[in-house]
């Protein structure tokens, strides 16, 4: 039975001067089901709230309507007051007669009529309110971080330091990601490895971090608080716990000239059993079975096995599936550099001395193939003139991508600067479109490259690069002077754009999170929820979301970590109870609801009979993921799904009450 109380607030004169509050109260009293109607000067004041509570108690109300200010002002206030009297908080509805009546209308009679209408609407709505319980989801307080680059490492460390167990999964044999490939970092020119390796080591030694390298995510199911994750630990052929990282195995490997080093981006070679770089964490080699003679030639070669002191080479090792249950996930899958094959005119791949930005990093790096001495790949000579081409792929909707890769301006300036420092008397030329140097110290850094280090910046695009007599002839336009320029260079460095890591779309699908048309993972809200994915419990960090530099990546890793620590600070995850629910009797499992759900909250549910036979498949709402947006309700043809708090029946009753 409906026992509704209507409370009309004067808001001093804010409402009462334009709305005849007594009239609203009188009209309320006439409505069937309304057992109490009062008006009061300030409903939100303590006495006002007390009177609300008293009436709830005395009249044993089943619903409350406040004709007052916007629900965005005091809905919570009044709900809290109602809860104190044992009323379900969702049985409180607000008719907004201040912001949407008294403050915007002048004719008192008409404003009063409108206020009465709004009050009636809410009475009809509250009559049809169903008790809503907030959803509590138990939390497995363990986090999964996918990707062992700087943002993943930062997230893992922050979470682990917060006392929460972390599983860090890295696809490559070592963590470190892209950052460990870099030489020095802008704008401070501190050595990347110097600041990165301690963090990598910390990860490895942290009691709260379980590290899986050379491992991939195989499957993710479940939802916030309770994700079931399958991790494929690929067969390393080396028993990790026994390995000392002494290097005898790779020194013994006969394949030392034949395999291109991925870490050095084909600028050097590695063996079949290898660590990608000397500071690798863990310092445990991986046996690359696709090139290993033992596997290719029927088990004859076992030089590494023989050389290994602790005997930790295991040719029979199998991929292993590890299952973990975690409460939250960070996706920090990182980035790749764009292919440049569409820029045939630049000759990348054709001319050895046309290299990518990341390759140049390796040439600069003390741990790189040339041990930090800049040598051009073709003949090992030190180049005297280098042309840097920016925006290769970026900001080029025709051939590449329309977005700006953000870091290229800065790393090119860094390259030019380091080139000048390392090769005295050398000359660099930079073709650019715009210089984007917006963070702290960046603009000064670029200026320094130009002014102190003498790099010549040319605003324009390069049209062609070709080889002539041992030189690379770079033809381009200088749009500022309006001249065509032609530079004979020893090397060309292409600042290739940034794209999401290959396969990150697949991972996103597995996680049920959205990604944009380029494959970058999408934030739940680009401004206000930048660390969250659209799926509750899954957070984002680093370049997987889009181009960003190291500090930003670190910040985003920490942001994700703080979100998770915040989430885990409670014993249960609480969600507002205004979520969707399925009428299983009439659901026909067309799954339009699932298609439109932005939160992956809808899954298939099989209804079985007593013998376990599936009699029906229906949609099922995961309360931990549903946000109550109601898109599914709109999508459902048979109206077999409804969202609590805004049920179809309530909306129709509101419309019905407005009939003229």
């Amino acid at each position: 039975m409906s026992r509704i109380g209507v409370f009309v607030c004067w808001c001093g004169s804010n409402i009462a001067s334009t709305v005849d509050v007594e009239k609203v109260r009188e009209e309320a009293a006439k409505i069937p089901g309304v057992v109490s109607a009062v008006d009061y000067k300030y409903m939100c004041s303590d006495p006002g709230q007390n009177s609300l509570r008293n009436v709830i108690k005395e009249k044993n109300l089943t619903g409350v309507v406040l004709a007052a200010c916007s629900p965005h002002m005091h809905e919570n206030t009044f709900r809290k007051a109602a809860v104190k009297e044992g009323l379900n908080p969702y049985f409180v509805e607000i008719a907004n007669i201040r912001e949407q009546v008294s403050w915007v209308h002048e004719d008192k009679e008409r404003a009063t009529a409108k206020a009465v209408d709004l009050m009636k609407m809410m009475v009809e709505k509250v009559k049809r309110d169903k008790p809503i319980e907030d959803v509590r989801v138990p939390l497995n307080k363990k986090a999964l971080v996918i990707g062992g680059g700087i943002s993943g490492i930062q997230a893992a460390l922050d979470i682990a330091n917060g006392g929460v167990e972390v599983i860090l999964v890295e696809k490559e044999p070592s963590i470190g990601g892209r950052m460990i490939q870099l030489d020095e970092t802008f704008p401070t020119l501190d050595c990347s490895s110097c600041i990165m390796t301690p963090k990598m080591v910390e990860v490895n030694q942290h009691p709260n971090i379980k590290l899986y390298t050379y491992s991939e995510i195989e499957d993710v199911s479940g939802y916030i608080g309770n994700f079931k994750v399958k991790i494929k630990k690929k067969a390393r052929s080396v028993v990790e716990k026994d390995c000392t990282g002494c290097g005898e195995c790779w020194n013994a490997c006969p394949m030392h000239k034949n395999v291109k080093s991925e870490f050095n981006i084909n600028l050097s070679e590695r063996t079949a059993i290898y660590v990608p770089f000397p500071q690798a964490v863990p310092l445990v080699p991986v046996l690359d079975r696709s090139v290993c003679l033992h596997f290719k030639k029927g088990g004859k070669c076992q030089k590494c096995f023989d050389a290994c002191g602790p005997k930790c080479i295991d040719f029979s090792m199998q991929d292993e599936i590890i299952e973990e249950t975690v409460g939250a996930i960070v996706a920090a899958t990182g980035y790749d550099l764009m292919e440049t094959s569409m820029y045939g005119e630049y000759g990348y791949g054709k001319y050895k001395d046309v290299v990518s930005g990341l390759q140049f990093e390796r040439l600069l790096s003390a741990s790189g193939p040339t041990e930090g001495v800049i040598k051009r790949p073709s003949d090992g000579k030190t180049p005297q003139t280098i042309v840097f081409v920016q925006c290769v792929g970026s900001r080029d909707p025709e051939k590449g991508v329309p977005y700006c890769s953000k870091v290229c301006c800065m790393y090119t300036a860094k390259h030019a600067k380091l080139f000048a420092h390392k090769v005295h008397g050398s000359q660099s030329y930079v073709f650019y479109i715009d210089i984007r140097a917006t963070s702290k110290g960046y603009e000064e850094f670029v200026r320094g490259t130009m002014e102190q280090d003498g790099a010549v910046y040319l605003r324009g695009r390069v049209s062609k690069i070709y080889e002539d007599n041992g030189k690379l002839i770079v033809k381009g336009a200088d749009t500022l002077s309006g001249n065509q320029v032609e530079i004979a260079a020893d090397m060309v460095v292409l600042a290739t754009g940034v794209i999401p890591k290959k396969g990150s779309d697949k991972l996103a699908q597995m996680l049920g999170i959205s990604y944009d048309k380029y494959g970058f993972l999408t934030e739940s809200h680009p401004k206000l929820r930048p660390a969250e994915s659209s799926t509750a419990g899954i957070f984002l960090a680093g370049m997987a979301q889009g181009p960003r530099d190291i500090p930003e990546s670190v910040v985003s890793g920490s942001a994700a970590a703080s979100k998770i620590l915040g989430l885990f600070s409670k014993s249960e995850y609480e969600v507002e109870g205004t979520i969707s629910s399925v009428n299983e009797a009439t659901c026909v499992a067309c799954f339009y609801c699932q298609r439109v759900c932005a939160y992956n909250a809808i899954s298939r549910k099989e209804i079985k009979d007593r013998n376990g036979n599936v009699v029906k498949v229906v949609a099922n709402v995961n309360p931990g993921l549903c946000t109550g947006c109601g898109a599914c309700v709109n999508a459902c043809f048979s109206k077999s799904i409804d969202v609590k708090g805004f049920m179809d029946d309530q909306i129709y009753a509101e419309i019905k009450s407005l009939a003229v």
């Binding site: 009239k23 009209e27 916007s70 629900p71 965005h72 907004n96 201040r98 912001e99 949407q100 009546v101 403050w103 915007v104 209308h105 002048e106 004719d107 009679e109 008409r110 404003a111 009063t112 009529a113 409108k114 009465v116 209408d117 709004l118 609407m121 959205s514 999408t522 739940s524 809200h525 659209s534 205004t578 439109v596 932005a598 939160y599 946000t627 109550g628 947006c629 109601g630 898109a631 309700v633 709109n634 999508a635 969202v643 708090g645 805004f646 179809d648 909306i651 129709y652 509101e654 419309i655 019905k656 407005l658 009939a659 003229v660």
Partner: protein, 160 residues
């Protein structure tokens, strides 16, 4: 036994005179999302802007929740104009509710027009939480437009 009173009570509703819902004083129903347009309308209030009092707002969580069938129901119950309003594309609080609904509205609107509903009576807008002035303009223009329409109901939902 007590039979029902058969005579009709003329004076049923004292407030009816204030908004008759007639063509000259039309009833408009606005379905708005909670996050953008409802806040925009609140902003109009806190800014003390004035606008037509013919509109009645029904709040929903998201444009994605605003079923085109609500429009039909509003007309059935005598609304002379129906407004649907939510967050601008890209701004949806729930990521994509307005995009999904936009497809439906575009289609449904075509259907309404084809079946002889005066499309002047159905309005769609994107109004953000900061666009109190746009809310005021949309409501005032819509009210004026409805008032200017011929004084006869050309829709298929009301009994003639």
């Amino acid at each position: 036994m007590e039979d029902m009173k058969v005579e009709k009570n003329e004076q049923k509703d004292g407030t009816a005179a204030a908004n008759t819902g007639s063509q000259s004083d039309p009833r408009l129903i606005a379905f708005v999302c909670n996050w953008c347009t409802y806040n925009g309308a609140d902003l109009a209030g806190t800014s003390r802007m004035k606008y037509s009092d013919n509109v009645r707002v029904i709040k929903l969580p998201c444009t994605g929740r605003i079923d085109p069938l609500f429009i039909v129901e509003a007309f059935k119950k005598g609304a002379k104009g129906v407004l649907v309003s939510g967050c601008h594309p890209g701004d949806c609080h729930y990521t994509s509710g307005n995009y999904h609904s936009r497809r439906k509205y575009a289609t449904f609107r075509d259907l309404l027009g084809y079946l002889g509903v005066d499309l002047n009576r159905v309005e769609f807008s994107w109004i953000s939480a900061s666009e109190g002035n746009k809310w005021v303009a949309v409501i005032n223009e819509f009210t004026d437009k409805i008032k200017s329409l011929p004084d006869k109901t050309t829709d298929i939902f009301t009994k003639k």
